[in-house]
Assembly symmetry: D2
Homo-oligomer: 278 residues x 4
């Protein structure tokens, strides 16, 4: 028997659809929808991020991503703008009407971020940060829970179980690649985990093909694979000038590439009877 309960289809058979109440029209994530989240890895400056946000809105993205607190392997790498970037997120929401998802690394930032973001992201390194999960389980705001780099599907669903058992059922699972022996790709996107997670759980599952592959040329085909396999959406890194991005430039699409991705995805989503939200 599986060790998880509330996240399981045995507990709740019908799909959970999450309604994200952002600054504009609500955005839905879950069965029947294909949700497109896009943005640069980090919020770099007002000029950079607001220009990008408008491009993405015009392209058809449904939600913006933008990191203020960046978990970086080295203490000497750019660590994000921190709280100084909150006004930029506010402004991006205002001018686009799109909701925003941003990563939270410390439970004590919940209050400070609460009024500025629409979805809290728990990054892969914090998937088993149970203090953080406990706190987010008591919050009335959707959580996007990335799978840990070496987390099993079971551990991923149990991390979600921390949130649901705490009272927060607005959870979006995000597959972002696992760590394997392969070195040609940054990580190995686990398409089977998308299928399995959707079979085992009623929660929506999206895919981040940018972190999973680490190479922008692979992002669109892997995104197409994700939607074809049944994923409920995508979170993609886009940057106006990937070569000058402060982080993750190699895996970022240009706005032009992102338009091509959306067009390829839309056709597959239609085959799956998934609605693209414009």
């Amino acid at each position: 028997m599986r060790p998880f309960k509330l996240v399981s289809r045995d507990y709740k058979a019908e799909d959970t659809v999450i309604k994200i109440e952002g600054p504009g029209r609500p955005v839905f994530v879950g069965q029947g929808y294909c949700t497109n989240i896009a943005g640069s890895c980090a919020v770099e400056s007002p000029e950079q991020y607001l220009e990008l946000a408008q491009i993405l809105k015009a392209s058809g993205a449904n939600m913006l991503r933008g990191g203020l607190f960046k978990p970086r392997t080295s203490p000497y790498s750019f660590q994000g703008m921190g709280r100084e970037g909150l006004q930029i997120l506010d402004e991006a929401r205002r001018i686009t009407g799109l909701p925003v998802v941003t990563e939270i690394m410390d439970l004590h930032d919940i209050d400070c971020l609460y009024d500025h973001v629409d979805v809290f992201q728990v990054g892969s390194r914090n998937m088993q940060n149970y203090s953080l999960l406990d706190a987010l389980g008591r919050v009335n705001k959707p959580v996007l829970l990335k799978r840990g780099l070496s987390a099993t599907i079971e551990e991923w669903l149990l991390a979600a179980e921390y949130l649901l058992s705490g009272g927060n059922w607005q959870v979006i699972l995000c597959e972002r690649g696992i760590r394997t022996f392969e070195t040609y790709t940054r990580n190995t996107v686990d398409i089977g985990a998308v299928v399995m997670a959707k079979e085992l759980s009623h929660l929506p599952v999206i895919v981040d093909p940018s972190h999973a592959t680490g190479k922008w040329r692979m992002v669109t085909p892997v995104a197409a694979a994700a939607i074809a396999a049944g994923a409920d959406g995508l979170m993609v890194e886009v940057h106006q000038d990937p070569d000058r991005a402060l982080s993750d430039g190699k895996q970022s699409l240009t706005p032009e590439n992102y338009l091509q991705l959306l067009s390829r995805i839309e056709a597959i989503a239609q085959l799956q009877n998934k609605l693209i939200q414009h």
Copy 2:
């Protein structure tokens, strides 16, 4: 610099399309085609295999798979019919007109198998059996080269390089899942490797979603993902009665499920401008 040469797009930019001259109309594998290979894991008896072959032909499969020599982890498991099954393969080819692919485990079986099979399969356990690769490099017959369970993309392409450098350019690469820490699925299908292999090499790449997942319910969504990512075809396990299959029953589709798979695949293949061969 990459260590492979002849398999590289730097050496040959245009896609290699392999023409398989079987008992009936030729079958193509490579750019512009979506090739469907299907069959039971093992040839179990004349009745079982010939009935299945006719069902698959009627379903729209382009090539039959059927193992006579089964590499089994335990010496006490069913090891395949061996040479006694050759007449069954002959008969299956005759009544369906479809070419046949079968696994070869020992280079000294090449002569005996040569007139009965259309494609030699090198299984994942033998991907680095260089004696076998050397011998198949000198043969004028296509080879389907499965990626080893823990082979890097580089090692896989270098194994193909053994074949090409020996003189045999008719090589089909087959991704079949890699070994990772995840235990809910039998193996982890590496969709990124399909994208990467096609970028690095001119050789066709197909996917075996049956071995990759180990669960029949996952086969169709993973097959859809493979074609959406750009794979040139699929090799799928089908059995009339999966519960009684002598091997791999859990991952085998019924003929009805296979028809559903083909219908889902066909729509995606059309989006990719890939021709389904009937």
Copy 3:
């Protein structure tokens, strides 16, 4: 070039030896010493823990381990006594004179734990919890940093770099097994990582053979291997009654087994010119 600086032998060639000022005589960790840390996975009750502490003191252990906050994969598992257990740790320190190491999961517990523990442990799931590392970098107390389940040696040393660059040079590295495909053992203890970490860094490296193997019968031989490879000490789970332990009973030694471990270790430590501290 390696991306870490302060942890590197290029920056500081001589071995760092950490002096732990506990309630009794100081305990040393690093070159020239073999340090034995032992205790139950969790502090379960005053009776359980204080009895065990006295047994371990009498056995020759140099430091006690005892978890109050237990990171558990499932929200339904025993989560530890929490702050209620602090008095038990105080008492254990008082009656044995041994320093205590306990895991910290939330940076906001630093103040509360500070006067009750001698070494802060960062668990494998939190190895890349950078908020926690930042905070512990500003603390004047040794930190035992466990390697993450799928952390590379480089990422492990970079996590230590967060501590050193924050100002805290009292860091003990702890190898506790990595996640691989093998399922007969809980994790795969990476002996080569011990050798490599000691070559690359001046920091002491110890091994936790209990978590690494998950099976008590394997603990002593793996512990012997660790010391033979050059590890500076061991952290071992011991319980008076492993069958009734609230967590990790399967990998816990009985006090009798622990005495045998210490006797086998001592002989190997002598060959390495490492001092057992009594």
Copy 4:
């Protein structure tokens, strides 16, 4: 229940000790002995190999390793001297009196090699080459069976089961590192697998620290760990001039380093009551 039978301690409780009848005094592998196998990766020339053989004999090695058929990832790498090297092995055996182990890649080489070698080695890439295992199961000569790069302990023991069930009980298991995500070391030596294999099976288990680490500086500490964990011996790569070795130079010890290794090993072997054979 475990799927293996004849290799299991349930079938045969007492340790199997293998007597290798070489050109001189017999050499034993198994409980009570610590057996040292050494040599260059490949036999490169008569001058190179015979000089090395004499040095190793004088150092105290018990058996020589020397590859004639080298399984190489790339078809463009040195593939070994092949059958031309057989006379060199003959001569090395004659002048040293030591038995020789060499890798066999093709079952059809058994006859040709039979009178020139004392132990057949099955390499990690061929651990599941069942045609080869079947053939070696019918031979009256010891087999050294390396664990596959990504083989589980269960698969490794089942590969040995092929040999025993074929009639050949003279099997030496050899752990040589598994493939993981870590890139600082070539492979990850699995010390726990040594402990586990000896607990589950009566067969002797040795360790190859050279291939496992890929770095000569790590070979001696990992070798010490292996013996401390209970391994029955070591297979080590030694070369007179590692910088000029035709293969695996980076992981080869010089003869001086090998003497240091033997001296460090001997002390640990004595603690384990294992006899060094001179």
